[in-house]
């Protein structure tokens, strides 16, 4: 579903964000992406969703190149940033209608989906309020509903659980699993290793812009805990 090959991104000024990164997320997989702060997780994610241009490598989503056909790639992808800056002066509903319009979700379908996800995340009563009045967690929930509203094939999430209350975090994990069981895929970054360990089918560890370990959960951690392996491999790579 998502294929990243030899991705290299250097920022203006020379700082290397990601170097020669290759990984593949197959349909039905939840793929976790972990690493220290500044390791290159967000850079990779932003390159995948078309926010960052990169000078080397290829990124394809369901066979569609994000460079050659960005609109097609974006139309089958959804992105949830770590700190969702939304339009403060719109109501939650206006924002969801905007996203649904852009993804051409028919009126009949959007109603059912919005109500379903809004109920699951317990935000329905706030949808007519302005986004400016939302807490960080509520904005995160709104961004999650907006991501699911058009039934993408690939969901890219940057620290999706930050700010969510325990019940919402549980609901989101369930939604993620259901989403992938339908043959879609999720690529997400997290610092919460326990979540990654329980939720992910595959995992990749990045450090200094380079991939230092990847594979199924068993391949990467074996009998140890993910925390132990993470600390070990990131120390070794140092």
């Amino acid at each position: 579903m998502l294929k990243i090959e030899h991705l290299t991104k250097t920022y203006p000024g020379g700082k290397v964000g990601v170097q020669d990164l290759t990984l593949e997320v197959k349909p039905g997989e939840i793929y976790g992406f972990i690493g220290h702060n500044g390791a290159g997780k967000t850079t990779t994610i932003k390159a995948v969703v078309g926010l960052h241009k990169f000078e080397q490598g290829t990124v394809t989503i369901d066979g569609v190149s994000v460079i050659d056909d960005p609109l097609h790639a974006k139309s089958i992808t959804a992105y949830i940033p770590d700190n969702p800056e939304l339009y403060d002066n719109l109501t939650g509903m206006q924002f969801l209608n905007f996203v649904a319009d852009i993804f051409k979700v028919p009126k009949s379908e959007r109603k059912g989906r919005i109500e379903k996800y809004a109920d699951e995340l317990e935000i329905r009563s706030a949808l007519n309020n302005q986004v400016a009045s939302y807490s960080h967690g509520m904005k995160q929930k709104l961004a999650i509903i907006a991501a699911f509203i058009h039934e993408p094939k690939l969901l890219v999430m940057d620290e999706p659980f930050v700010g969510l209350d325990p019940k919402a975090a549980f609901s989101v994990k369930q939604m993620m699993r259901e989403f992938c069981d339908k043959g879609n895929a999720i690529f997400f970054s997290t610092h919460v290793l326990e979540v990654a360990e329980k939720l992910c089918d595959k995992i990749a560890i990045i450090k200094g812009g380079r991939l230092i370990a990847s594979g199924t959960m068993e391949e990467v951690k074996g009998d140890s805990s993910l925390e132990e392996v993470f600390l070990e491999v990131t120390e070794e790579a140092h």
């Binding site: 926010l51 974006k74 319009d101 109603k111 007519n128 309020n129």
Partner: protein, 536 residues
């Protein structure tokens, strides 16, 4: 004091840092634009202040000249202050600053310093020529000049106080009622109208004034605060100095105190949980335009900065329709071969069309939304960049909103002017085409500058809506673009031949269409690439 200095330094570093990112060429071009505009403003204020003073000093009314200049500088400062007071004092950084051990007054003062310096600059530009003429032509001592310079730094405190009071009132009304936005718009417009009435007419007021010194003192005493300020400068009278200090510093401290009290971490939010959800659907293009329109109307800064020209145009055209062309007679007299001729009698349909177009285009130069439409996206730009909307459609929707705000009013005004001036269908059509093309051109130019000088890291939207490089440069360039068309029209008026005038207007249409096509090509090629390279 230490905290305030730290805040000021941080604001300054943040400002410098935001410009450093843009590259040397962009910064130099923008600086040149700002300098040109600044020099124009300085020259305009200095000429108004200087000429008024000169007339009055010649009539031995030096004291009254200072009184008028002080009053004028206060009106200008009030105009800047009140229009700025309509903006939300809270920035994105307010919550962070409030969580730190910083006195609220230091936060308020650090945010006010920019406005205060602008007011001081205006006061100096207006007052320095006045003091120089009073001293050099009127033969007064340079002690007056020295006193005047000291008070020039103090006088802006009074308009700043009034602005802060308005700001506090508007903040309260926005929280407590639905009318805060309307009130803030009315107050801003009233301030600008006051400025537009007082400033251009001050010289003719001075010219027509035939009063004795004693009568001028009586007149001045009718507005006591201005009189105290004038006397503090003119004679250094201790009572007036004390009163000037009282009426400037105490209210300022009071206003800062009120503002400080109002600065807190909580915002007012309505509860709409019981309202039914609406699931309206639209096409991609329509959704993009609706989003742009919502963003426009949800920002009081954005609306204030652009809608004013549209409303003023409509108001003036309605006034013109009521008065008719007869209302203009006697205002355009000229001497030809020793005879006084009213230019209105020489007006042909084509000339009316040209004049109408120039008049409407003048307002178009201050009514565009595109220069700040990119920067206003700020950190939310990730949304439009990750959604499957062609970049071209995003940019087109920004142009569409700019046209939607001004174009309908502009067309209505063209039709009204055509009917009142009886310039015929051809004249009306040419006026509509010329004004439409010019509005399109200003929107396109604005968008190009908006893309070049995009600033996504703002902490308060006023930074990009009111004082962004793109906004200022667009205004300068649009006025410059309007000059050749105005010159061509004036040439036609002098030649005074209907057919030739229509040909000139036709030529203007072709030239303007060419410029629009060129600007649009820049946007669809360079603009699209530039937008795609932006990161919030």
């Amino acid at each position: 004091m230490r905290t305030l200095l730290i805040l000021l330094r941080t604001n300054f570093l943040s400002l410098v840092g935001s410009y450093r990112k843009k590259g040397t060429v962009s910064v130099i071009a923008a600086t040149v634009g700002l300098v040109v505009l600044g020099l124009f403003m300085i020259a305009m204020f200095a000429i108004i202040g200087g000429s008024t003073t000169f007339i009055l000093v010649e009539k031995d009314l030096a004291e009254f000249a200072i009184f008028l200049s002080v009053g004028l500088s206060l009106v200008i400062a009030l105009m800047f202050g009140v229009t700025n007071s309509t903006r939300d004092a809270r920035g994105n950084d307010t919550d962070m600053l409030l969580s730190m051990p910083i006195p609220k007054s230091a936060i308020v003062l650090s945010k006010l310093l920019g406005l205060y310096l602008l007011d001081v600059l205006c006061a100096l530009v207006m007052l320095v020529p006045t003091y120089l003429i009073v001293c050099l032509v009127g033969g007064h001592s340079f002690a007056l000049f020295a006193r005047g310079m000291v008070f020039a730094f103090l006088l802006p405190a009074l308009p700043l106080f009034i602005s802060l009071l308005f700001s506090a009132l508007i903040t309260y009304l926005k929280k407590a009622t639905k009318f805060g936005q309307i009130f803030s718009t009315i107050v801003s417009m009233a301030a600008i109208f006051l400025y537009m009435i007082v400033v251009p007419n001050i010289s003719s007021y001075a010219n027509n004034m035939n009063i004795s010194h004693a009568e001028s003192v009586t007149k001045m005493k009718q507005i006591l605060p201005f009189y105290w300020m004038t006397e503090a400068v003119y004679s250094g009278d201790l009572f007036c100095v004390a009163m000037t200090l009282l009426i400037t510093l105490i209210p300022l401290f009071f206003a800062v105190y009120i503002h400080t009290r109002g600065l807190n971490g909580s915002n007012f939010h309505a509860d709409n949980s019981k309202k039914a959800l609406s699931f309206k659907s639209s096409s991609v293009r329509k959704a993009s335009i609706i989003m742009e329109l919502r963003r426009y109307f949800s920002s009081s800064n954005y609306v204030m900065n652009t809608l004013f020209g549209t409303l003023m145009l409509l108001g003036l055209v309605i006034f013109f329709a009521i008065k008719g062309t007869g209302g203009l007679s006697g205002h355009f007299l000229t001497e030809t071969d020793g005879e006084t001729v009213d230019l209105l009698e020489r007006m042909l349909p084509s000339i009316w069309a040209a004049c109408g177009a120039i008049f409407i285009n003048f307002f178009a130069c201050m009514t565009y939304t595109t220069p700040s439409s990119v920067s206003i996206e700020g950190k939310r730009i990730w949304l439009s960049k990750t959604l499957p909307i062609p970049t071209k459609v995003i940019l087109q929707s920004k142009i569409a909103v700019s046209l939607l705000i001004y174009q309908p009013v502009s067309i209505i005004c063209c039709i009204i002017i055509s009917i009142v001036t009886k310039c015929g269908i051809l004249g009306c059509l040419l006026m509509i085409i010329l004004t439409s093309l010019f509005q399109l051109l200003t929107s396109l130019v604005g968008l190009i500058f908006g893309l070049i000088y995009a600033r996504l890291d703002w902490t308060n939207e006023a930074q990009v809506v009111k004082s962004g490089f793109a906004v200022v440069l667009t205004m300068v360039i649009c006025f410059l673009l309007a000059i050749p068309f105005t010159v061509a029209s004036v040439a036609g008026i002098i030649i005074h031949q209907n057919t030739l005038m229509y040909l000139i207007l036709g030529g203007e249409v072709i030239l303007m269409a060419g410029l629009c096509a060129g600007a649009y090509a820049i946007i669809t090629h360079y603009g699209v690439r530039k937008y795609e390279s932006l990161n919030g």
